[in-house]
Symmetry: C2
Subunit: 487 residues, 2 copies
């Protein structure tokens, strides 16, 4: 059997030593002509390409100018329905057609996932590359997410024991870098009093950061399964587990692992609210790699906190483990909802190899295919359902969180057209990719800082301003100011 290779390796998406401080410059260096060709080959194999049926012209669709209208429907009280929305019945009869209240919740968690990218410092010239650009008190405000009524209680950092872990965003200023080993990997947040009332319980959210593109780290998927849990039968992919569990006393930010950091906080919060007599739920969310980490987190949380309603809402997540892993999650009562764009390649992974002789991708016919299984319920959306999106092949665009959220916003049922009442701001789709049709006149990949973060100083010189001391990452104790004892 041909050696298993990943999309990344054969797409030659090499890590460049590039300087970037947004998702977008980051992505630009990651694509090449050859990679596009191979990606297309892959796409054809997986039937991900969109056949040439004529794309409906936007003028044929009721396209109203919505600029002066709100972007969401008013919030509704779901306190008597929350368990169903949280997946207690595996979202039976709630997905197709998609229940409007569930749609809103999915988009909420999707925005929490997207926040992990928007706030991330990708600038390899910065000594803070790999950290969050804001401190946890400001994060939601800076990103316009206070509207959801959650408060960030803790940041999560992760490292990897793998040699040359390519998922790690590294500053080039190694001597002065805030960290040589760790990356900001997400956060824990809690619903405030008002939101808790609306949703019928105190909701703890853990949002895991993924990767914006199928990228280098896929090469590191060694197709090596590591056991998880006490029985030894459940197994998960080695690289994901390494990120979730690695730690080293030689580091500043990962003397404890991501797993330990998040479980400490989740347990603390659960205990705090239970002692106050509140109902509590745990929602774990993530996109791409983040969706994989969310499953590992869920497995552990379900073991540590049996009886706690735990759901995973993932976006474009790859497969993570074997059948036994899937079954154990199920037995522990974890509810998983995987949101999948039909044309996105990542949810198909792993499960394919590159056949060197044929110089193309083929499905593996050996044991590997049967090993990796998806978990839980699936909400599948289709790029073709939207008249606002270009349908041509777009590896990054099909995988983008904003594409996912646009399609969820427009999804009524698998047999309906894009909802005419969908209100989500269309411009968001193009934050970090090129998916919107030209008629909408929204620039591609528009989310960027003025002058890449440079500002003029008193002498008129363009300089990178120093980070506010408040926003400098702080590993020590990560103060439990949210109901905690430390300052």
């Amino acid at each position: 059997m041909a050696t298993t290779e990943t999309i990344h390796h054969h797409l030659h998406l090499h890590r460049h030593h590039d300087h970037h401080n947004t998702i977008n410059t980051h992505l630009k260096q990651k694509t090449s002509t050859k990679s596009t060709r191979l990606a297309k080959s892959l796409s054809n194999l997986l039937h991900l390409h969109i056949q040439g049926s004529a794309q409906k012209s936007l003028s044929n669709v009721r396209f109203e100018e919505k600029k002066d209208t709100p972007t969401t429907s008013p919030k509704e009280d779901i306190s008597d329905k929350w368990r169903d929305m949280h997946g207690s019945s595996d979202w039976n009869n709630l997905l197709d057609p998609l229940h409007p209240l569930l749609r809103r919740e999915i988009i909420k968690y999707g925005e929490f996932s997207q926040a992990t990218y928007d706030a991330f410092d990708f600038d390899s010239f910065s000594k803070y590359c790999g950290s969050c650009r804001y401190n946890r008190h400001n994060l939601f405000e800076k990103l316009g997410l206070n509207k959801h009524g959650y408060i960030v209680s803790k940041y999560i950092y992760a490292m990897s024991s793998m040699k040359v872990p390519r998922w790690l965003e590294k500053s080039r200023l190694l001597e002065n870098a805030w960290s040589k080993d760790s990356n900001w990997m997400g956060y824990v947040a809690v619903s405030d009093d008002e939101e808790s009332k609306r949703i019928g319980r105190r909701d703890i959210v853990v949002a895991w950061r993924g990767t914006v593109a199928p990228s280098e780290w896929y090469e590191d998927l060694k197709r090596k399964l590591d056991p998880i849990g006490p029985h030894g039968e459940a197994k998960v992919e080695h690289g994901f587990l390494s990120i979730y569990t690695s730690k080293s006393d030689a580091t500043r930010y990962n003397k404890s692992s991501a797993s330990e950091q998040v479980m400490d906080e989740v347990k603390r919060l659960v205990q705090f609210y239970k002692e106050k007599g509140e109902e509590v739920s745990l929602a774990i969310t993530g996109h791409s790699l983040g969706g994989a980490l969310a499953l590992l987190n869920a497995y552990e949380a379900a073991s540590a906190l049996p009886g706690l309603p735990i759901s995973v809402i993932s976006f474009g997540a790859p497969r993570v483990g074997n059948i036994a892993f899937r079954d154990e999650l199920h037995q522990k009562g974890v509810k998983t909802l995987r949101v999948v764009v039909k044309q996105d390649v990542v949810p198909r992974m792993p499960g394919i190899v590159f056949n060197e002789a044929l110089q193309r991708f083929v499905y593996i016919t050996g044991s590997l295919e049967w090993v990796y299984h998806h978990v839980g319920a699936e909400l599948k959306v289709d790029v073709r359902s939207s008249p606002y999106l270009k349908h041509r092949f777009n590896l990054l665009g099909f995988h983008s969180v904003e594409t996912y959220l646009h399609l969820v916003d427009g999804f009524h049922s698998s047999s309906s057209v894009f909802r005419s009442e969908a209100r989500r701001d269309l411009a968001l789709v193009n934050k970090a990719c090129d998916m919107l049709v030209d008629e909408l006149r929204i620039p591609q990949s528009w989310y960027q800082l003025a002058n890449k973060g440079l500002e003029r100083n008193a002498h008129g010189r363009w300089v990178k301003p120093k980070r506010d001391p408040e926003d400098i990452p702080s590993p020590i104790g990560e103060e439990h100011t949210l109901h905690g004892t430390d300052s």
Copy 2:
């Protein structure tokens, strides 16, 4: 003889229908792998590549942190030297070594040229694509150029009678576009009272916009020479002349040609100041294509205003006309200073052909080589002289105005190293290219708007704000408010 082809054609630098609103996104779509390969072949032919002598490490050079120092030396009174600085003696003994006062003047005119790019609306999704983003009262303030003490008096618009003129930046919103035919092509400005005192005369500047990259319009260089002037012997390249002289009653902004617009204004200002008893000079500046237009402008101005001290300061300009053109300019007393980066390919053009049989570039051996001649004095600077620049092949970077100004700032003489007293902000080099060494940690191509010009409206939707009515281009009369009679 092989058909003459241009660099552009063989570099496949095709016009894309891309959406961009800065120089940088504009440039990104214009390069491709094949074009890079051919450009390298061209570079080798023209000995433009930089041999692999080890690039001096920045640490070996006295590199002081200059962030908290001014970016220029204090202004000096040159009123008793201005004629020399303006080229009355063809800058004899002023170029090598470079006289510090002349250095300052060159950089001033270079910044006036750069302004034509910084203020230009490249956004093909905007109805104002191809216009200046600011009105003439705000231009210098918005770009931080008030420091030079000049006032903009008129904008210049140009069109072309050539079919599919590819130098023209066009809005895709043809029905609503501010203009289907014209582009903002530059401006006329005048020194204010204080600056006029310092420099010993009232200086009228005409700044012509060029193109940021050797681009499509080179294909349109048909190697067809058109006569200019009354004798019929002086000839200039057809495409340049077309831009300079085209007009059509069917247009809004070019019922008069660029030539007529600029000459009307220059004559008006000359008369105004002469009647006040002031000495007056005319400095015409431009980069790339703009440098070519500057020469045509100078030819015409010298014919219309004999006795007026007229100088051209050009940056990276191609050859423009034949020997007779050069000689007539000389006879009319026009002084031309061509600033040339040794590694820049554009000043070598035209003069080469692509040999289809050999599939490479060769010098032409027929009459054409002998036809096109450069005019005037040359200040040649070398990328290798700067320890702050990467030396590897960079077609765009070698041609960039900011690279030119950096090298002029550091130039003492052809046998000296980069001046240690050079103060110009290094970060500027990377405004629209990738030339600075990594150690400086300045992002490449950093000059960009936050979120590509999108802003959040009252509902939180990301929209392109409307242009201030003040900044909407206005063709009618272009009000002569600067000492003029109209409002």
